[in-house]
């Protein structure tokens, strides 16, 4: 290891043991597979997911009462995510993807819905899940979605098209956001729970991505998919607000993911700079290289502190929409910088696909886009000043 980690906040013995477990899992099971998964392009590493399930990584964040590990606090989720994404950004996010599905369920679900839809995510043989909001014409402006949920006898009939849905096709369970009232924007959005195999639910081909290829994204086509009333998640019109609530959590967790990836790049570059010699000395002794590493280290410290601070505030029940956005913005831009800087530090070898840093640079670009682009983060922050 290039760096020794000093604890930012006092961790309990269990949290320390969890961090150690995840660090070891990331080093042994994730990091060695990163390049292979990247080159496989559109194949999710379900075997790693299975190994992670056996250890409890895939359900640790779900409440114990539904069979999960019970670590529902965002702080622990950040500790875990940072370690896993240090291993590989895409694989790390893939392993914890059920946590993202659980968020709207926990925000909007009835006890019966939580039991029915969360329990299958727990244990050593969990199902995969997906969240479907984005459409071809509706990204940042999620209130402008046009997928329509028409009231019918006993439920709803849903038609429309989603794009960029992580785990679509692989997932057994879906949360789909659709307009129950097309005359409204946010207030017209409702959320629905759908299982794979529902009549009218089909998927497109895998979308070819720049990075984070461990997660396969596809379009989702809904052709008059019937959803019974009991599978509507939250009241009509509550969908959007449920989504916004869960974004606070998911953004902080993604900030942790980005920080882990940034740290991976920094440590790799640091080790390289200490051994590669040019002009008669290790390149770290050339100021240009040293200063770049100094910037990387500084920004990682800053991103991590911000992430954990936001997590703590969230766990304390504070309204942290602005802070969560700051954490994601800061961490994602730090990851972009650090991976770029790692490629730059490795020079020609940084450009080579024999080394991981160019992949990590492609991987972390997504964090400036998904779960709210950096532009949207600035919008959210400015509105919460």
């Amino acid at each position: 290891m290039a760096t020794k980690t000093i604890e930012y906040w006092p961790l309990t013995d269990e949290q320390r043991a969890i961090v150690e477990l995840c660090a070891q899992f990331a080093a042994d099971e994730i990091r060695p597979r990163g390049r292979e998964v990247d080159e496989a392009d559109v194949v999710s590493p379900v075997d790693i997911f299975q190994k992670a399930a056996e250890v409890g990584i895939t359900d640790f964040m779900l409440p114990e009462e539904f069979g999960g590990g019970g670590f529902t606090d965002v702080f622990t989720q950040c500790l875990v995510q940072e370690q896993l994404c240090w291993g590989d950004p895409g694989i790390g996010n893939f392993l914890c993807s059920n946590g993202f599905f659980a968020d709207p369920l926990l925000a909007l679900g009835t006890p019966e819905q939580k039991e029915k839809w969360l329990r299958p995510l727990t244990g050593t043989d969990p199902v995969f899940t997906a969240l479907a909001t984005t459409e071809p014409d509706s990204g940042s402006d999620s209130a402008s979605i046009v997928t329509r949920a028409t009231k019918v006898d006993g439920g709803y009939s849903i038609s429309g098209q989603k794009a960029w849905i992580s785990n679509a096709g692989l997932a057994d369970q879906y949360v789909v956001f659709a307009k129950t009232d097309p005359t409204q924007r946010a207030k017209g959005v409702s959320a629905f729970l759908i299982k794979k195999g529902a009549a009218g639910l089909t998927f497109g081909e895998p979308m070819k991505k720049m990075g984070q290829r461990a997660i396969v994204c596809r379009e989702v086509f809904l052709d008059n998919v019937f959803v019974p009333d009991e599978d509507r998640l939250g009241e009509e019109g509550a969908g959007f607000y449920g989504l916004m609530e869960t974004f606070d959590i998911s953004r902080v967790v993604l900030a942790a993911a980005a920080t882990g990836a940034a740290r991976a790049a920094y440590e790799y570059a640091l080790d390289y700079a200490r051994t590669r010699t040019q002009f008669g000395k290790p390149i770290i002794e050339h100021q240009a290289v040293a200063f770049r590493l100094a910037d990387m280290a500084t920004r990682i410290q800053s991103a991590w502190l911000m992430t954990l601070h936001a997590a703590r505030q969230l766990d304390a029940g504070e309204n942290v929409t602005g802070l969560a956005a700051m954490a994601k913005l800061q961490a994602s831009e730090t990851a972009m910088f650090c991976t770029w800087a790692a490629v730059q530090t490795l020079g020609g070898w940084g450009y080579s696909r024999e080394f991981p840093v160019e992949q990590w640079m492609r991987d972390v670009k997504l964090e400036e886009i998904e779960e709210g682009t950096s532009d949207i983060m600035r919008l959210v922050i400015s509105r919460n000043l």
């Binding site: 269990e14 043991a17 150690e20 640790f60 019970g70």
Partner: protein, 260 residues
Amino acid sequence: MKIIVLVKQVPDTFDERRLDLTSGVLDRATGENVADEIAERALEVALRYKDAHRETEVVALSMGPDSVTKALRKALSMGADSAIHVLDDALAGADAGCTAAVLAQAAKQTGFDLVVAGDESTDGRGGVVPAMIAEHLGLPHLSFLNSVDITENAIVGERSTENGSMRVSASGPAVISVTERAADARFPSFKGIMTAKRKPLSVLSLGDLGIDRGVVSGERGRSAVVTVSERPQRTAGKKIVDGGDAGEQLAEFLIAGRLV
């Protein structure tokens, strides 16, 4: 069946490890202390038996300073049922013989059907403690096992030598030591980490074991460190110029270095 697994805490092999150059004692303050990897493999051997025989009791046993608790908690989170920590200031700097005597007594007091240990620690690398323990307990010792098959009545294992491999067996109770080929240690699970805290971890002093502190004090240990010196700097290798006899020079070099 009750299986005792010997756990040793050692400095992380990836950190810099230091010997105190005056006393010859390992400087445990620098770097991280971790459960020795071979001990985790030994534990895995016991846990695999437990997976198949649920009523098996697995006890992790270690002798060492305060920080050993961490290694024992890891053993508990991996699936051991309880842990025993032998802790006493008089044991500071204990040699292999002393360690073996103390662990043997702790094992005897606890009771067991099988003791499983790693073949060699990554710090001291003596590789003798399990054999000494077997001797103290008057039990069969199966050493350096690459694979092991445990049943209620017998333990059978395979051991490699320079010339081939041996199949060895003993009836219980017995002491066995395993190599890194015996098993890959499992990860602790989140559940295991949470339940570890509730599992019993008892701390025993020499008095609790009925051992006189004076008998094992550093001054009267059975071995003594005579000199300690730093490993000499690596020197440049020898260059051979081929005047027609390079082959002979190379052969001499290899023979002298016992490399053939």
